[in-house]
Amino acid sequence: MLKETLLLAKNIRTDGYDGSLEAYRRAGGYTALEKVMKSMTPDQVIEVVKASGLRGRGGAGFPTGMKWGFIPKDRKPTYMVCNADEAEPGTFKDHFLINNDPHLFLEGMILGSYAIGCNHGYIYIRGRSVRPAQRINEAIEYLYKAGLLGKNILGSGFSLDLTVHRGAGAYICGEETALLESLEGKRGQPRVKPPFPATHGYNACPTSVNNVETLACVPFIVKEGAEAFKKIGTPNNYGTRLVGISGHAAKPGIYEVAMGVSMKQIINDLGGGVRGGKKLKAVIPGGSSSNVLRPEEIDIPFDFDSVAKAGSMLGTAALMLFDEDTDIVELAYRTILFYNHESCGQCTPCREGTFWLRNLVRDFRENLGDSQKLERIGRVSQQMFGTSLCALNDAAAGPIKAFVTKYPEEFKKHFI
């Protein structure tokens, strides 16, 4: 029976824990910050994060220490921006942390800010999450009062302000350069890269954008050391993941597991398998942008590299289960409807491609499919790959192509 490995959710799983500053400190919180303020240079913080092999939890899995190392040391100001947009369908892990233990990622953010020499950081959170934004703001208020934010933190000479910035309902603002545009009061449309945020980010200054869960790993790494972190997980995939199980699971929810444990076991032992004793038809392993897997493909280690090898993506570790009664065409339609709606429209292949795919899948949904249209879905999605400014385009094309390639029989049921 697979059990949780508690690194980030340790406090949350403790009875009576309320996520307040007092409770967090009682559980050993902010001792990493104290240690750093007393005895570590910014470079030493970057080094330990590099040595831990921590990879970003926002979707792409980029090494965090390397990202911080890219920030030039001779340019001021620099910015740390926490990506709390979390709008990928199926994903709710960052909100799990924000709602239940906000100080964990905030401590990570303060440490990261110190590492890259940032004196004002921003937390970008989706507009509709009113209460979670309040939760962070309250936590920040307590930090100012306790002298853990503001001027001269713990007498170290390091000063930091944090500001919560609310979005206004646009999935694309989770993409880091769109997020920065939105933070600058503009339409949230991704930028042309290069230059990358590390040199030209917020207000054209060096900027590091990091996901909530990524930052939440940092206090442990700083406190316990890189080797302790590397004891969890598999080579190149260290640490844990907060897996969000949803869909037709018997026990939906967030479960924290060491990276590299069996995905099948996560589904059955933690998620309770499919509810109502039904058979499993499909699994989406890492949020709506990741390719669907058939039940015979899920006996793999759940880490970045293994899920990629299976032709999908660990992404946000949002595991969605779909039972035998699920109509894959309906699943495909909901997926493409989302991407078509959220495409920001500045790249033709993405804007038009998602539109055409939506219309084609809709035809099947209305039982107007035929073999030519099925082939056309494959062709249109193939032509979209790699032709646009940001990853939304491929995140739309990939899953749709996977649905038609892996479940042609489901689409054939909707022929005219």
Binding site: H95, G169, G185, C344
Partner: protein
């Protein structure tokens, strides 16, 4: 021209101090407009906002038309959001929306004629383990049974 009260203007000053440039405060200011105007941005505000942060009217309109939450029509006293993304949509969210539209006699995107309840169809709101999910004002209602939607609406009407 509309404007903020002096109490809100104090908040505005505080917001400006959080950003290196005034124009970056546009979204936070728009959120204040939403709060003060039943969840919408009336068109008369566009020029006011443009002047406050020092950008063109076009810039403000470009921003307002970009984001889903920024609507021109006032919301009802209570606002209901129904999630129909994946996974909610495949766990009965679509049926919940249908029943909700029937019970309220309006379509998603509309407000009941008495101004009490407005309905919005939304994409994933990051609580997918509770599918199908609806949000009533700032509260979540989880695992909503489509057959019980009428009761929920009746209870809200009584309030």
């Amino acid at each position: 021209m509309p404007g903020f009260s002096s109490a809100v203007m104090k908040e505005v000053e505080g917001i400006f101090q959080r950003y290196p440039r005034k124009e970056h405060a546009l979204l936070p200011l728009i959120h204040l407009v939403l709060r003060e105007n039943k969840g919408c941005v009336p068109e008369e505000w566009d020029q006011v906002l443009a002047d406050m942060v020092g950008v063109s009217l076009n810039h403000v309109r470009g921003v307002i038309t970009f984001y889903d939450m920024l609507q021109r029509e006032p919301r009802g006293k209570h606002h209901i959001r129904v999630c129909t993304s994946i996974p909610c949509g495949l766990c009965g969210g679509d049926k919940v929306l249908e029943r909700m539209e029937d019970a309220l006699g309006i379509h998603a995107g509309q407000t009941t004629p008495d101004g009490m309840i407005s309905l919005e169809e939304v994409q994933c709101i990051a609580a997918c383990d509770k599918a199908p999910l609806i949000q009533v004002d700032d509260h979540f209602a989880q695992q909503v049974d489509p057959d019980r939607v009428e009761e929920v609406v009746a209870a809200m009407r009584r309030k």
